[in-house]
Point group: C2
Chain length 397, copies 2
C-alpha cells in the first residue's frame, strides 16, 4: 500500500535545476494516482457545483477536503458514522485531507497557541474549539482519506522570527502526529515550513525526513510572497526531500505555478483557484484567463476553448455561458467549473506526457510564453475583496 | 405536424366529472410528448441548476422558457441568431414559450395598457419596452419553441370588472396573434381567461374555440384564488374546450393540483414549484414535502425518498444533502432539483399508466390521502417573502 515509483525523470530539468521533473505512480487504497497530479478542492465534502460523476468524467483522480470545515460541519464523528468521507460524499477515488491547521490560522476568529496545540473560535458561530496533533490525526482518521497531513503552523512567510518559533512547534507536532497515527490504510505526510528562508526550509526538510513520513508536503507558500520567492524556496527545499517519496506543494496553484512546480520536482498539487475563479466568470485557457462577463463575448458562438473536450465546451457557446453569468444562473457556475477543472486535468495529462517523452522543457517554455498572467493589479484587487469578505464574515459570527 | 391523438379516456372520471382524465400522444417537430405531461420551467434558457443531459436523464420531455425574460436578456434576436432556443441552450426536445404577458403583469415595474398592446419598464434596469400581439409572436418566432402562446392579460382572479375588461383585450389580441403567426413548425395556443367567473370562462373558451387554435391553455389560475375556486373553474371551463386538442393549465402546479387537473381533463402542466422549493430545501415525496434543513435529518442515512431512482436518491443520504444545505453548497440545490423534477416526471408516468389501466380514480384517492399538504400558514409566509423580495428588486432597478 502507498507504493510510489518514479516512471520517468526529465533529464533537461535535472540538468538545469538540480531536481528533475518526474512522472510517477502512487498507489492508494482507493486507486492509483499518476503523478504529477492536480487535486480539485472539495472544502465541505463537495467540489463546489460538481457531482462525483462529474469529477470522474472530468478525469479527476485525487480530491482534497478540509478537516477544519468538516470538523465544524457536519462533524468528523458524523462522517465516521457514515463510513468516512468516501461514502459520505460518494467519491470512490483517492482522497486527501489537510490537518485543519491552515484554516485555524487563516479563518478562525481567535487563536491561542500553546506548545500542546491551538484553541480557536469557529468562524461560523464563534464557538470554542481545540486542535492538538493527536486530535488532528483522530479527526482525519474519522474522515478516512487516503493521504492525511500533520498539524502544522503556517506563519507569515516574510517574518523570520515568527517562522523560527512556528517551526519548533511544527516539528514537535509532526513527531506527535507520527506517533498518534494508527490506521494502516492512510499515508501520513509531514509538512515542511520555514517561510521564504532557505536555511529554515532546509532544516525543516531534514528534520521531517528523519521522521520517515510516507510523503512530504511543502506548506506556507502562495500565501503572500512573490512568485520568485516561492520558486526560489522550492529550489532549496525539494533537493532536501527524499527522491523516492511523493512531494506535495500545498495550495498551489495557478497553471503557471504548477508548471514551475513540476519543473522543480513536485508530484502533487491542490488549489481552489480553478473552481473559485470559475464562479467569478474566469475561464482558464492556454492563452490565460478569459473573463466571460466581458461584453465582447455577448454574441460569440465559439466554445470557451476551441478543442477542449469538456462538457461545457462540447455543448455551449461563450454567448450562452455569458448569458448564464449575466442572469446569475447557477448552471453558469457549474459549466465554468467543469471547464476549469477539466483544463487542469488536461494540463496535468499533457505535462506527464511531455515528461515521459523527454520534451517537458520545451513544453514549459511554450506554455509560459502563451499563458498571459492576470494583471497584478486585478489579482491584488481580487485578493483584497476576498480578505474584506472574510473579515466581514468574522465580524458577523 | 402537431398531431394530437387521445390514447385512453378514463371512464370513472368521465362519469363523475363530465370530462375524462385522458392520455394522449402529441407530436411536435422536436419529439413526441406523452400526455399528461409536466414541463419543468427554464425561465432564462436554463432549468435552474440542470444541464440538458440532466433533464434527459430525469426523463423530462417538454421544457418551458419565458419570453419576457429572454426578450430582456439576452434578447430574442440574439437567440434567433443562434438558431433559436433549442440550439442556444442545448435542449433538443420539445419546448414551449409563454408570450411574456404574465411577467409584464406580475414583474414589470410600470405598465400602461392600451388596446394595441402594453408598455412597461424592465424589472431589471427600468428601461422602457412595448409588447403587442404581433411583437409577442415575433419574439416567440425568434425563440422557435414548438408550442407558443397568444399575448393575454392575466387579471386579478376575484375582480369581476377587471376580468371583463381584460377579457375583451385578451380575445382581440388572440385574434391578432392568430393572424400574425407565420412559422408552420410552431403550434399556437389560445389562452382562456376570466378569473374565477364561470360565465366569463365559458365565454372565453367559446370565443377562442371559434379561432381554431392548435391547443388551448387555461391561464389566470393559481394566482391567488383558493384551490376549490381553481378546481371549480376547471370544472366549467374544460367542457367548453374541443376534446381533440391539447389542454394546457398554465403555471400549475403542486403535485395535488396536477392530479386534480388531470382528473378534469388537462394534458399539459408547467410550474416552477418543484425547482423553486428544491432550492429552499423542500423535497417532494409521496407523503408531502420534506424540509431537508430540519435537524431530524442530520444523521439520517436514508435517501430522500426510498425507492426513488433519481441520481440524488441513488447516491446520497438525507444527512449528506442536509449538510450541503446547511453549508450553502450549490451541489445541494442541484441534487434537490434533480430529485424534485424526477418526482414530477415519475408522478406523470404513473398517472398515465393508471389512466391507461382504468385505475386513475383509485390512484387519485390514494395519492391525495397520502400527500400531506404544506401548512397553509407556511405557504402564505413563503409567498409573502417572495413578494417582498420582488418588491425590493423592483425598488433597486
Amino acid at each position: 500500500m502507498f507504493d510510489f515509483s518514479i516512471t520517468a525523470d526529465d533529464p533537461q530539468t535535472a540538468a538545469h535545476m538540480g531536481t528533475a521533473a518526474r512522472t510517477g505512480i502512487f498507489e492508494t487504497p482507493h486507486g492509483t494516482l499518476l503523478t504529477p497530479v492536480f487535486a480539485p478542492v472539495g472544502t465541505q465534502a463537495t467540489v463546489k457545483t460538481l457531482t462525483p460523476r462529474d469529477l470522474a468524467e472530468i478525469g479527476a483522480t485525487l480530491v482534497l477536503s478540509n478537516t477544519y470545515h468538516l470538523y465544524l460541519r457536519p462533524g468528523t464523528h458524523l462522517v465516521a458514522d457514515f463510513g468516512g468521507l468516501h461514502s459520505f460524499m460518494g467519491w470512490p477515488g483517492p482522497m486527501l485531507t489537510d490537518s485543519g491547521g491552515f484554516q485555524v490560522f487563516s479563518l478562525a476568529q481567535m487563536r491561542k497557541l500553546d506548545p500542546d496545540g491551538v484553541t480557536f473560535r469557529s468562524h461560523i458561530d464563534g464557538s470554542l474549539h481545540r486542535f492538538t496533533p493527536e486530535s488532528a490525526i483522530a479527526s482525519q482518521e474519522d474522515l478516512g482519506a487516503d493521504i492525511i497531513m500533520c498539524l502544522d503552523e503556517c506563519a507569515e512567510p516574510l517574518d523570520r522570527k515568527y517562522n523560527e518559533e512556528a517551526l519548533t512547534r511544527t516539528h514537535a507536532w509532526a513527531a506527535r502526529c507520527r506517533t498518534a497515527k494508527r490506521r494502516p490504510d492512510q499515508a501520513l505526510f509531514g509538512i515542511v515550513q520555514g517561510g521564504i528562508f532557505g536555511d529554515l526550509r532546509m532544516e525543516s526538510a531534514r528534520t521531517l525526513r528523519a521522521l520517515d513520513f510516507s510523503g512530504y508536503a511543502i506548506g506556507g507558500l502562495s500565501v503572500g510572497e512573490t512568485k520568485e520567492q516561492m520558486y526560489a524556496t522550492l529550489d532549496v527545499t525539494v533537493p532536501e526531500l527524499p527522491a523516492n517519496k511523493p512531494r506535495y506543494l500545498m495550495g498551489v496553484g495557478a497553471p503557471e505555478d504548477i508548471v514551475e512546480g513540476v519543473a522543480r520536482g513536485i508530484d502533487i498539487f491542490d488549489c481552489v483557484l480553478p473552481t473559485r475563479v470559475a464562479r467569478n466568470g474566469g475561464l482558464l485557457t492556454r492563452q490565460g484567463r478569459m473573463n466571460l462577463r466581458n461584453a465582447r463575448y455577448a454574441a460569440d458562438p465559439l466554445p470557451v476553448e476551441p478543442g477542449c473536450d469538456c462538457y461545457a465546451c462540447q455543448h455551449f457557446s461563450r454567448a450562452y455561458l455569458r448569458h448564464l453569468f449575466k442572469t446569475e444562473e447557477i448552471l453558469g457556475l457549474h459549466l465554468a467549473t467543469v471547464h476549469n477543472v477539466r483544463f487542469m486535468i488536461r494540463l496535468m495529462d499533457e505535462i506527464r506526457q511531455h515528461i515521459a517523452a523527454g520534451t517537458f522543457g520545451a513544453f514549459r517554455e511554450t506554455f509560459l510564453a502563451a499563458y498571459r498572467l492576470p494583471d497584478q493589479a486585478v489579482r491584488h484587487e481580487q485578493k483584497e475583496k476576498r480578505r474584506q469578505r472574510l473579515e466581514a464574515a468574522k465580524g458577523q459570527a
